[in-house]
């Protein structure tokens, strides 16, 4: 239990943040940061722990975004149900993509998963009568209980929903990585032949790693659509991809907490840069350069520097 005291303390502190932070813009940044933290830490399960060269994780997030948007707006399903529905369809998408990925190796996994995310983008753009095309969908119903709209009290409700999702997602990831399933993933990554000799099925573990790491990004996507009340194809752009990837790498892959910390830090940093004139595009360049520098000089990511030493 001891290693989790710090994260639990952090979660409690984050829950108390709205008492101090009153302005709705800063709270908005926290909400966005929590969503990115869910994407990055779950991506870390397949990329870092399973060593699967998966570059399609934003495809799962986008699946959640558009599932919730279509469910809540077009089908008039309550947003409370539309959000988890995003997790279900994201898991299904992961299952679909896992079929070829389970048999492929190395670079082919990168190519197929990358192509999957791009295909999602093309599908969204071309099926504009359902998805709104390049303009996206607007006016998606927000969360409410009775008469209380969650946007009120300066987004207090949304803040706690997103934090709650992040906590749930983190527990899910910790549980998975500490279980025998998590250990079998590490074994496959570090010594495939040995793991297989011990009876670990590479195909089954890969499918499970992909599906289990897609659920929470899908729910987070659903939340994102409901919270912003907008679903836009930009979630699949290279800008978002590089930002999420840099969170995994700069934070430290195969560490869960590293990507979460990096997500919060980078969301605030890039948002601060966006406020400076002429930096709107340059901030992505800064993040990309940071990513290369970390890969070059601190391959374990920031969390391992803080731990002192590059050991796993």
């Amino acid at each position: 239990m001891r290693p989790y005291i710090l994260p639990m303390l952090a979660a409690v502190l984050l829950a108390l943040v709205p008492l101090v932070v009153e302005d709705s813009y800063t709270r908005h940044l926290f909400i966005v940061a929590f969503v990115y933290a869910i994407i990055a830490s779950n991506w870390d399960l397949s990329l870092g722990y399973a060593g699967l060269f998966n570059f399609g994780h934003l495809g799962f997030f986008a699946t959640g975004v558009y599932t919730a948007a279509i469910a809540a707006k077009t089908l008039a399903i309550t947003p409370w149900l539309a959000m988890p529905l995003g997790g279900v369809t994201a898991a299904l998408a992961a299952l679909l993509i896992a079929a070829p990925v389970a048999r492929l190796r190395g670079i082919y996994v990168v190519l197929v998963t990358f192509a999957f995310a791009q295909l999602m983008l093309q599908l969204i753009l071309s099926q504009s009568h359902i998805t709104g095309g390049a303009g996206g969908m607007v006016g998606i119903p927000g969360l409410e209980i009775g008469e209380y709209r969650f946007i009120r009290d300066r987004k207090l409700g949304y803040y706690h929903v997103s934090l709650g999702l992040l906590v749930l997602s983190t527990i899910h990831l910790l549980f998975l990585t500490k279980s025998s399933f998590g250990r079998s993933l590490l074994a496959l990554r570090d010594n495939e032949d040995y793991a297989r000799a011990r009876g670990v099925s590479i195909a089954r573990q890969r499918v499970m790693a992909l599906v289990l790491s897609a659920v929470f990004p899908g729910v987070a996507g659903g939340f994102f659509a409901i919270y912003l009340r907008v679903a836009a194809p930009e979630v699949l752009g290279f800008g978002t991809l590089s930002l999420a990837l840099s969170m995994v790498l700069i934070g430290g892959s195969a560490s869960i907490f590293g990507p979460i910390l990096a997500a919060i830090a980078l969301t605030f940093a890039t948002e601060a840069m966006a406020g400076i004139r002429g930096m709107e595009e340059a901030r992505f360049v800064v993040v990309a350069i940071g990513m290369v520098l970390v890969l070059r000089f601190a391959p374990g990511g920031m969390i391992r520097i803080m731990d002192g030493g590059g050991k796993r």
Partner: protein, 288 residues
């Protein structure tokens, strides 16, 4: 009916030639360096923008622009190799790391282009004006040039790789670096040459593409996806497999547009791709 068939075949040839050009540089860098170069599409875009700057902004004409585009991307390729490929050379997870670093450089190039040239659409002049009519179906002379140029360039690349000293050393390094080094081949130099050459091919493709499509910072996005599809389809083994796959995809796409329409074509191609990979994990023409 017959006209539809001819024009579909013709557009298949044009697409196939374009895709072969897009994918050949990518495939070459993969076979020599074992690096999947995500900057390939962005280099096409830079090539087109450099050509535009020299040809239109400075006014030296499209042929000077062509030279500038190819030269700039070749130089950029050598720089990229030096900065983000070489430091990771020999690491166990080099494939994954270089995917990430080239992805990062792709973002840097795209965003820089947006800051330098702005988001406004630009157009490159065609290398040849006018149209060509073949059996009643009409394509532009520029497209016809691409169809003629693609095999010439690919054959030149093949001759270079099999008949010249430098080309042979590229292949030797691709097959066994240690043995190549023992034979006295300068491996780092070979890496730089391979990357520069691949980048130059991207630049040339970009200039050709600029005569058909608008030049924007996103010009390279669709080509890199297409080139990826081609190399997955053909298997990343050899130039021949890549070219074969490029034409298979080109014809498939032209045919699919006719049958399922423009919107569903990428989806149908992707499903085909998944099926190929399930049954032949090393690509259509790949060997295990």
């Amino acid at each position: 009916m017959i006209e539809t068939v001819i024009s579909t075949l013709l557009s298949g040839i044009v697409l196939g030639a374009l895709y072969a050009l897009m994918a050949s540089g990518l495939s070459m860098i993969w076979t020599t360096l074992g690096v999947f170069n995500f900057t390939h599409g962005a280099l096409m875009m830079i090539g087109a923008f450099m050509a535009w700057t020299v040809s239109e902004a400075i006014g030296l004409g499209i042929y000077a622009g062509l030279v500038a585009g190819i030269g700039a991307t070749a130089l950029l390729g050598v720089i990229i190799e030096y900065m983000v490929i070489r430091p990771f050379h020999g690491r166990a997870n080099m494939i994954l790391i270089t995917v990430m670093t080239t992805l990062a450089v792709m973002i840097i190039l795209e965003k820089s282009a947006q800051m330098i040239w702005g988001p406004r659409l630009k157009q490159l002049p065609r290398l040849i004006e006018g149209d060509v009519s073949i059996f009643g179906a009409v394509i532009s002379a520029h497209e016809a040039l691409i169809v003629v140029l693609a095999p010439v360039i690919l054959i030149a690349l093949w001759v270079f790789a099999t008949r010249t000293m430098v080309g042979r050393s590229l292949r030797a390094v691709g097959q066994n670096q240690d043995a190549a080094a023992l034979l006295g081949i300068n491996v780092p130099l070979t890496f730089a040459i391979a990357f520069g050459l691949g980048a130059a091919l991207a630049g040339l493709t970009g200039v050709l593409l600029g005569g058909i499509r608008f030049v924007t910072p996103n010009l390279g996005v669709e080509p890199i996806i297409k080139a990826m599809t081609v190399v997955i389809f053909g298997g990343l083994g050899s130039l021949g497999a890549t070219v074969g796959a490029a034409f298979v995809i080109g014809f498939a796409e032209a045919f699919l547009i006719l049958v399922v329409g423009l919107y569903w074509t990428p989806f149908a191609l992707f499903i085909g791709l998944i099926l190929v990979l399930i049954f032949r994990p090393n690509g259509l023409f790949g060997r295990a």
